[in-house]
Symmetry: C2
Subunit: 194 residues, 2 copies
């Protein structure tokens, strides 16, 4: 059998480079194969479609990100979970640009390919249950407003604090962590009952 010259990871890596430099829209099949010097046939031998490539790229990246977040939140350490965003972004600048600067729908519009659907659903689910569990055990409630509060402090604010730096392709500076921490204390620690 012929020796594989262009493997799936090769294509994913090329796609990642293009996505974090110019956004997911720049990840055209043409651009990917040109970057790799591969023919179109080799690409379609590995991936049934462009959607599948971008879907795999996104899913792989979000799962890598979520790993540390889930560990912290399951340990009951909400502040560590909030600070995971800048920390992970520093360690994985390219992946962070790709994941945190764009929306999931920029990678896959509409319906996800059958193959990836279960992966995305389980990713969403495990995230939601972890947040709910944290709200319940740490704040003693999982009413909508408490969940909203947790999501704000653990997800939205860290993302907001980090975004402008990622837009310059720079690692988030220490002030980002400080802002996240202060917000966390005001919004979560400050009111453990409501």
């Amino acid at each position: 059998m012929a020796r594989p010259q262009f493997t799936s990871p090769d294509f994913l890596e090329a796609a990642r480079a293009l996505a974090c430099e110019h956004g997911p829209a720049a990840v055209t099949v043409g651009a990917v194969i040109e970057r790799l010097g591969a023919p179109a046939g080799s690409f379609y031998y590995r991936f049934a479609s462009r959607d599948l490539l971008l879907g795999e790229l996104w899913l792989k990246t979000v799962l890598a990100f979520q790993e540390g977040f889930m560990a912290a939140i399951k340990a009951g350490d909400g502040l560590a979970a909030a600070l995971h965003t800048p920390a992970w972004a520093r360690e994985n600048l390219d992946d962070a640009c790709l994941l945190l600067l764009y929306r999931r729908s920029d990678f896959v519009h509409g319906d996800w390919p059958e193959t990836l659907r279960s992966g995305v659903i389980s990713q969403e689910k495990s995230f939601k249950t972890a947040v709910t569990q944290f709200a319940q055990t740490t704040l003693g409630s999982d009413c909508p407003n408490t969940l909203r509060r947790v999501r704000f402090a653990l997800v939205e604010v860290p993302l907001a604090a980090v975004r402008m730096h990622l837009e310059c392709r720079e690692a988030p500076p220490p002030i980002a962590d400080e802002l996240i921490r202060q917000t966390y204390e005001a919004v979560i620690t400050g009111r453990p009952e409501q």
Copy 2:
């Protein structure tokens, strides 16, 4: 002279509707003229290019948003400026979806058309000087970290608090304001010196 049947505002309005429902990428010339029942020629009689249409749409919307923000910040009321985002989003749900859910570069990639460039530059400039002035007069400093802090509390956090609701095309609920206020107090009011 022939009576105008399809005016510039007509095209802008159709583009706005498409953009806030399906994102700026869905604003194709074909979709716009189909929505209006206009021929392609009429569109290009009003707009030199698709870029110009999307550029005008974005600029018009951002200026409408900025109006209230600038009024509050120039009055020295930082909290009011921060709360302007959810307030404006409630009053202008469609415009908010368009403006706050996407990035400027989703509307115009790369260079802006000559006609709009000065408008965009002056918009950026007036925003920056207002923020700097606020930092100086209210916090007594305009060092990078103070500016970062102000930008966080007045722009990034309000945006983060509002985004998930806009994604469902819903008005931000009161809890959004509460989170913005608590963050503002922790990050700005709480430390008027550093």
